[in-house]
Symmetry: none
Subunit: 534 residues, 2 copies
């Protein structure tokens, strides 16, 4: 019954994405990513460039997708060589792939300067390469490189390339904005011209983000007639990246102007895995996810402003362009300097801190949060420190232990063998249940030594912190120079439960700031271990 | 002679940008950022929301820009209160600002649900607030919140809000896509409707990046008639961020379709500072710059070994949508050791380090740079440390002094009056000209104490370092967790010449990393003071 047209998603994470500076996929990485993409529901997975490097040769020894078509990328035959004698084309046709994507020059200037051949010979190469791959039983597509710049320079030649590929039997002719400098209205105008020669149902768009408009350019091309979009997970890719499929997929699914007219292979259930897929992919790349990424970023549905926060709690739909759950993300209302009382209440709610919204002590808490944030504390990044501050105002944090003093020392000197060694040591003096406990420990730095000394003997609480570990430590110097203050954020983890929490400390002295965050971390652990009930 | 129309840039980095999760500006931060924006050439700097928090109150005690108009943001008067009795409006008018930007509801649903008032009363609030600010001598603008969603729900009411603001004397009526969910074609269509009521020369656009199209939406609005764009540095802002001025400025300046029709306040010379401004801003936020950022990212003009790399060397213009130098960025071709060597030579050239390009010692230098960068050193951000490393390989750095040992200690305890005090002390033992010098000093932290002790007695070099001061200190933890390594960047300044230089240290131990950077800084100063000739 659906009169909606199908948009085909062609993922090039493993090929154009592999051009990203700093990203190198192993064969194992590629296998994992291909599986993620296949599960997500894209139509094509372009796996790489067989013949160009050993990784891609190994990857193409078998088909790596179950549902999606598996595609191999490579160049059309070289000038002056027959298809059957071109080793590049041979490698492509040997690859275990459902589809072959040829890249072909479509800007006459590049044909002459880079290929050093004639326009005619380039067209013959396109036609013969497409025919050879068709004869080998492959679905064929042609990426027309520099199509938009080429069209602006010589529209007749660019069109001839597209037409030649189409007439030779290519399923898709993909118009590439290789340098990424085109504007959406140019893309739309040129696509409309091309669609008069090659039907839109056979056209694709390949956009880059060099002016921050790869998504807009892809959508403009769809509106003008193309029915295939090429892009990558999280928008990785050469230079500024490719069109971000992680952004395009929810827009096509959730925005009425697209969803009413078009359908894609990602269903609602898979759409709900999108945030997970995006973050798992960053995990595999060992990089921090972009917090501000559309739809899937941790900040994509976060609100800090006092004026918005109170309204969001009244009716979230009017402050969110889509519901975060549809993409597997969640709403966050942050407490901060900007915050009003409603942020504070939302945060107490989220952290399940028992409170009466009318409690006058909440005013004091809000004042202290603001005053501390003005001094450099950042509670939105330190849930556990906020939790402790709130519970202290509401009278619910026992004094587990008292710090009488600490001392930490770093020494660098030559050892007996004449080598330079650096040694860090810390001493901590605590009072627990009237008893004074002193511990000393070494570490690979002053903070690590303090941490070691602190957990060496916590008296009757010792067993509660055995599984506690410090997993991240961040330092920021605020207002650089002489009036500088140091903010330390510590992330801790309980090995037993895999629960994580973050704490903050601020001081002129980096050691003191670190110590505050360490103490908060331990106190938070004790509070949540039920130690308060002992 | 120019028939080009002026586009006005309104920067809201310090207001909407301050809504970014994880970003908190101090007053000092705001002063620095306002100066950067002023120098860059934006037309308006929105400094914050006076009356909402102590930071903004302090920031608005004086005008913070020289060229740009300085703007204060706040709400229109509350329902049922006269303008003169509204403390929010009073705080706005007390702020030392050239302009006032009121935010007003323009979606009837929000007027009823969030403001709990009538449409009429909201319109009266807009008119009276604008008139009061005009009477106080301010330039006035009105941010129409949720304008596009509001227009879709009730076009007549949204238009009434815009018309009321305009007729009351607002210089600008700014159409806000508050939830960030609109598409460029919707923005364009609605702007054209509004421009029939309020002239485009009085309209502005405020876009958010929730579908990755804030830049495209801003440009679509300009094409449809608006003449003011609101945005932020590096696109920071609530949720997914605001329209990125760092992307929009070069597009408006360098792309013929915009540059031929419009002009902005950023001239060619300032445009060449854009990459620097973008990175300096990230430095201030102590976050790693986005490598893939359009125009200003380190990868924006980078090409990895592959089919493009050799072509780029033949004719860069055909593979770059704009020339990297126009925005102060540079081309990077990431290929093997050969390219590494030419980069190195270019760097030695830039720093005016005498060298013979055929010197075999350069191979050793290249190897050590690569090996150290793999360990976490960042020579791109530490010219002076690179300079020393290069000159050492070329045999041109004397051993001014030798560090025999150092020790630094931090102690927290109760003093005689029962107050908690934290004390930092450092001891340094140096050997200069065969003589051993020991110095001890206190500081407000362990690194400051070390710095003080180091410069207390440098023997015959003492006079050379009298004017040396540490102006910035940055810490980054690399590969967090157990295998963590600390990188410290120190910026130093010579008070006598105002010359600045940066040095780097890397170690498991934060004190050791800091010490390396301090020693490099002092050595660099001595080398450049001509101390080598003594």
């Amino acid at each position: 019954m659906s009169a909606r047209e199908r948009i085909h998603l062609y993922d090039t994470t493993l090929r154009d994405g592999a051009q990203t500076p700093g990203i190198d996929f192993s064969v194992e990485d590629k296998i994992l990513v291909a599986r993620m993409l296949d599960d997500l529901g894209v139509d094509y997975v372009e796996g790489g460039y067989p013949g160009a490097n050993p990784t891609d040769d190994a990857f193409f020894t078998e088909k790596r997708t179950r549902r999606a078509r598996f595609s191999a990328f490579g160049m059309t035959r070289r000038p002056g060589v027959s298809v059957s004698n071109d080793p590049g084309v041979a490698a492509l046709l040997q690859a275990e792939a459902d589809a072959v994507c040829f890249v072909a020059k479509s800007w006459d200037y590049h044909v002459e300067v880079a290929l050093k051949t004639t326009g005619e010979e380039n067209l013959a190469g396109i036609a013969q390469s497409v025919e050879a791959a068709r004869a080998a039983g492959r679905e064929v597509m042609v990426d027309c490189e520099h199509f938009f710049d080429g069209y602006k320079a010589n529209p007749a030649y660019a069109l001839a390339c597209a037409r030649t590929a189409h007439e030779a039997g290519a399923r898709w002719v993909v118009l590439c904005d290789t340098n990424g400098g085109s504007m959406p209205h140019e893309i739309a105008a040129i696509v409309r011209e091309v669609a008069a020669v090659v039907p839109g149902s056979h056209l694709g768009i390949h956009a880059h983000d060099d002016t921050g408009q790869a998504v807009a350019n892809s959508l403009a091309a769809v509106a003008a007639g193309v029915r295939q979009i090429q892009g990558t997970l999280n928008g990785i890719g050469e230079r500024c990246g490719n069109a971000n499929l992680t952004t395009l997929i929810p827009t096509l699914k959730l925005k009425a102007e697209w969803a009413d007219r078009f359908e894609i292979g990602v269903d609602d259930e898979r759409l709900r895995t999108l945030t997970h897929v995006s973050r798992a992919f960053d995990e595999l790349l060992n990089r921090a996810p972009a917090r501000h990424a559309p739809y899937v970023g941790t900040s994509a549905f976060a609100t800090k402003a006092g004026i918005h926060a109170s309204a969001i709690l009244k009716d979230p739909r009017t402050y969110e362009h889509v519901a975060p759950e549809t993409v597997g993300n969640r709403r966050r209302v942050l407490v901060s300097d900007q915050a009003g009382r409603s942020n504070l209440l939302a945060e107490l709610e989220r952290l399940a801190i028992p409170h009466d919204p009318k409690d006058r002590r909440l005013d004091g808490l809000l004042r202290e949060v603001k005053e501390r944030e003005a001094r450099g504390f950042a509670y939105e990044a330190a849930d556990a420190s906020f939790d402790l501050l709130a519970r202290r105002h509401l009278g619910a944090v026992p004094a587990f232990f008292e710090v009488k003093s600490y001392r930490t020392m770093v020494e660098r000197r030559y050892n007996a063998r004449g080598e330079i060694v650096t040694m860090s040591e810390a001493v901590v003096k605590l009072k627990i249940d009237g008893e004074t406990l002193m511990s000393v420990a070494e570490g690979n730095g002053p903070v690590n030594a303090l941490d070691q000394a602190l957990r060496k003997d916590l008296g009757r609480y010792q067993s509660e912190i055995e599984t506690l570990e410090l997993v991240d430590y961040k330092v920021r110097i605020l207002n650089g120079g002489t009036g500088a203050v140091t903010r330390v954020l510590i992330e801790s983890r309980d090995r037993a439960t895999d629960r994580r929490w973050s704490t903050v400390g601020v001081s002129e002295n980096i050691i003191d700031a670190s110590f505050q965050a360490l103490i908060d971390s331990i106190t938070y652990k004790l509070l949540n271990a039920g130690a308060a009930d002992l």
